[in-house]
Symmetry: C2
Amino acid sequence: MSGRCRDYGVVRNHSSPYCRLRSVDLRSVRWTSGFWAKRFKQCHEESLPHLWELLSDPDRGHALTNLRIAAGLEDGEFVGTHWQDEWLYKWLEAAASIYAITGDPALDRRMDEVIGLIGQAQEPDGYIATQTTVRGWKRWQSIHHHELYVMGHLITAACLHRRITGKVSLLEIACKAADYIGDTFGGRDPALAHFPFNPTIIMASVELYRTTGERKYLDLANLFIEMRGSSPEGSDVNQDAVPLREETEVVGHSVLSTYLYAGAADAYMETGDPSLLDALQRLWRDLTERKIYLTGGCCALHHGLSIRGHEVHEAVGPAYYLPSATAYNETCAQIGNLMWNWRMLAISADSRYADVMERCLYNSILSGIGLDGASWFYTNVLRWHGREHELLSGDARQRFQPGQKDICCPSNLLRTIAEWHSYLYSVSEEGLWVNHYGGSAFDGPLADGRPVKVTQETDFPWRGEVRLTIELPGPAEFALVLRIPEWAEGAGVEVNGDPAAATPGSYVRLHRTWADGDAVFLSLPMPPRLVEAHPRVEELRGQVAVVRGPLVYCLESVDLPEGVRISEVHVPQDVCWSPRHDPSLLGGVTVLEGEVRRVPEGDWAGRLYRPLRPVPGEGVRARLIPLYAWANRGISEMTVWMPAC
Amino acid sequence: MSGRCRDYGVVRNHSSPYCRLRSVDLRSVRWTSGFWAKRFKQCHEESLPHLWELLSDPDRGHALTNLRIAAGLEDGEFVGTHWQDEWLYKWLEAAASIYAITGDPALDRRMDEVIGLIGQAQEPDGYIATQTTVRGWKRWQSIHHHELYVMGHLITAACLHRRITGKVSLLEIACKAADYIGDTFGGRDPALAHFPFNPTIIMASVELYRTTGERKYLDLANLFIEMRGSSPEGSDVNQDAVPLREETEVVGHSVLSTYLYAGAADAYMETGDPSLLDALQRLWRDLTERKIYLTGGCCALHHGLSIRGHEVHEAVGPAYYLPSATAYNETCAQIGNLMWNWRMLAISADSRYADVMERCLYNSILSGIGLDGASWFYTNVLRWHGREHELLSGDARQRFQPGQKDICCPSNLLRTIAEWHSYLYSVSEEGLWVNHYGGSAFDGPLADGRPVKVTQETDFPWRGEVRLTIELPGPAEFALVLRIPEWAEGAGVEVNGDPAAATPGSYVRLHRTWADGDAVFLSLPMPPRLVEAHPRVEELRGQVAVVRGPLVYCLESVDLPEGVRISEVHVPQDVCWSPRHDPSLLGGVTVLEGEVRRVPEGDWAGRLYRPLRPVPGEGVRARLIPLYAWANRGISEMTVWMPAC
């Protein structure tokens, strides 16, 4: 085990030569107040133990039981999906991240116990995947057995555990697994060409390289990238029809694609291969200019065909295909997109990537977890017709409790919320970068090792005012680099009362010799705004959505006068939305209140078309809530997009 | 061979006890002038020989060559799709229908030659399907070999050929084939449960029963209906997951579903089984109230999932899913829908079924054939983005010429146009029914055998005035029953100058003692109208389409001022469309001219969403053409639905 490991963030790119921004230590950032402090607390105190309870329950999650059976400690049968193990590994990753902040010794002990069990379940040659071991199945018989997928998550969790606890127990298991994978795939057996179907192994291998310094793990990541499109039977469903470097279209399963691109970005950070970065930039433009939802959702299709005619599922749609009511938008796809954009941001220091992260996180990721921290959505629609809604992708009428299935999103959300604070700040030779906003404190070294403490006071995302206070042992010259989100038109920055220029959609660099107690005041105006979509998006023609700051709003039927249907609501182009913070509603949200137009639908019984009749509308009061908070008040109708009038 | 066969229409339901309306003899109706006279002439003189040339060409269609090889007259390999044979059978059906009117002896000789060849290609036990015979494949190995599909078309063609020519040559082949099928499927071998995948055999068997009087053929049809949903592996793709009588949703491949329903309606006509009619009425409501395009298209999905989660293709969409640009709407699906509705009309005498026939025929069926009569669309979209359009369902940029593939629609269109005149009139105990309009003459017996001649003078569909003149050997009491289409608000009828009531969406009965020379004048007002869609159709929210009479109109980019994009056009709710007939445009069409609003799109480069900005629009002149005539002037942009303003 190399001694190179130092304590850095979730993506340990401290020594990557092709990054403009470096992650900061997970422990150098803490939530202090507000939106995220509350969510982190809930994640620690409620979601983490709740998911532990489910996954360790032999009758529900069965994940721990599968490991015990594989370890020979219990008799029984494998129960669950082919990726049941990764529930535990993502739980471990989240636990390590929370432990980094809380230092909770009970959590440390529980992690040690689980790791001991994992070690016992690992086969002597390093292979570990209970879905095959317990059943006595032959290895590598089907890409859908997801053996590499679960091992990828194991390795990722191990790197973080090593970094945070200093212990090598899980890392040793991970290296053994990675060495086994290297032996298995290194010879490039054509029969195994499609096995990196669900490509967590790529991010994992790069991170293992960063953690251990062993070049072979970086080579392993590159091997898996290069296997894509290398065989004539490759399919678009897992981005396997065309070599990644030649691909021009984001295609296929959106969790697979975003994880692949995130892994390739990790590889680029270490190799600097320009053809890889070219491809990633090209694909990012394809996704963000033609295929992404306003909410950051990147998965229009439950099932369909790719542009090359391959059958795909849970997949990005064709260009400009963005239906609301049937949107799939699996929560994990948006988490993959967040991870990919985080890496692109590190590479480029281009604030557009942070804008996408923000859009995903506050809307199509957070909508995936109930306000109770214990219920989830697998898919994230933008319109819901209440009890009349027919959708076969699971019962999205109500948020679900994970049982033996549908386990990927809850633990993915768990680790994302547990790690989000580490995405707020980055460092570079220039200084300290503030990528995202939230009541927090950074207390750590700049890239050159000089210590700095910055306190961020804000009620973001409800208000756009942010006060940053600098604490220093003595004057120090560096830049404080603040992201001005693309939506923050009219943004202003003041340093100790002196204004500085701030352009939306960029970083503003405040380079100076800072003194202890210096204060920066950032103002990000958040007027509610109507947004329209590209005219090629036929599902959104003539419709508007309402956004305020990073939040996409929605209209839920419980917030309309009795008897008014969601579909009757039209939004005047000159509507005036009044923001009002209601601390007692939905855990505390800023609602938007205004007068919209109700255009009575009249009688549609038995007909699908009718002659257009000018109908006199009437003004009605409506209240919009942030999309992430929908479906927490029973079964309702909901819509993000509404006809403009 | 029974002598029961008499000369009746395409659906020979003359003696069906459960029909309110009976088909008339194909030869009792002739086109005299106008829209359909021209199309019938083109069908006879251009399309029929053109398709013959293609199908008999060994290098292109290869259909005749396959038969020759099967007959042992030539050496060679099978070339084409698994349903190559049915190209020839539908050609034969169209040829027989045209021969009925023209009496062209050359056509008769050609039919005889082909029938001789078919007889030689038939295997001794009655089986005939060159796709397996020529290849030496085992029979009944895959539902996708379409053996029953081609034999179904053979039988249908044979019934019509017998009826029109009086010859039994093809009918004998058909009976031999049907008897073989009866022997094969009569035992209900579970291994064959899914073979009536493409259910032409049902309509065919009922028609064979009608033609021969042999009850076993009706039993065979019922057997195939009852096989649906009888096995646990049945899929929604071919309506095989649920028994037809219990089904509540139109699902799956739309050619398969509409042919199945048409066949079941045929069976109902002969058996009067109320549970079958219940199911058909329920499914018809599901289709017309939730799943059909304004154009009559009934096939939203190229590929996707059914409501029960089965993979389906070329299929009806989920409820209210009606995208324009990606609409599949295979021409044959609408022809299937036309055939189904024709049977429902015969059963019920309910004019709503004729309304659906009309909507399909004039819009999503006729759009499938080029004005040259020699080029085709497989799919029928409602919006096209010109050269920028990406759609993987074939190259819909230009109409295609059938080669060895894509053969089903051209010959299906051919037979539909060749037979359409026989759908204009029906008879019942009450009298003569006029279901559809067009310059034509009916000269035949009423149901009780009394002769009557009715001449229909009209410029339909361009004008809604219809003059019907009655010729009788002497006074006769009967009803002349005229369909008032659902779109004909303000319709009026006059008998010899005396007005009678006429309610849109119904038949008006003019019961009296008619005298030679009596004249009925029907006025069906055709003001251009804006139509809106049900608010659940998210692709059509806030948009309008323009219809006039039976025609759906579209905007094609060549009819806009230079530089104006289709997507910039908004339609004022109070737009005034001026109809103008242009005999030199597109073979003679009535265009609609008016001032629409151009709302410049501005710059969308690199973005998918943007803040809504009120943009001052400007008036521009636009010209709309009937949808069926689009894509006859090069590659253009086209749209049926346009945002209202």
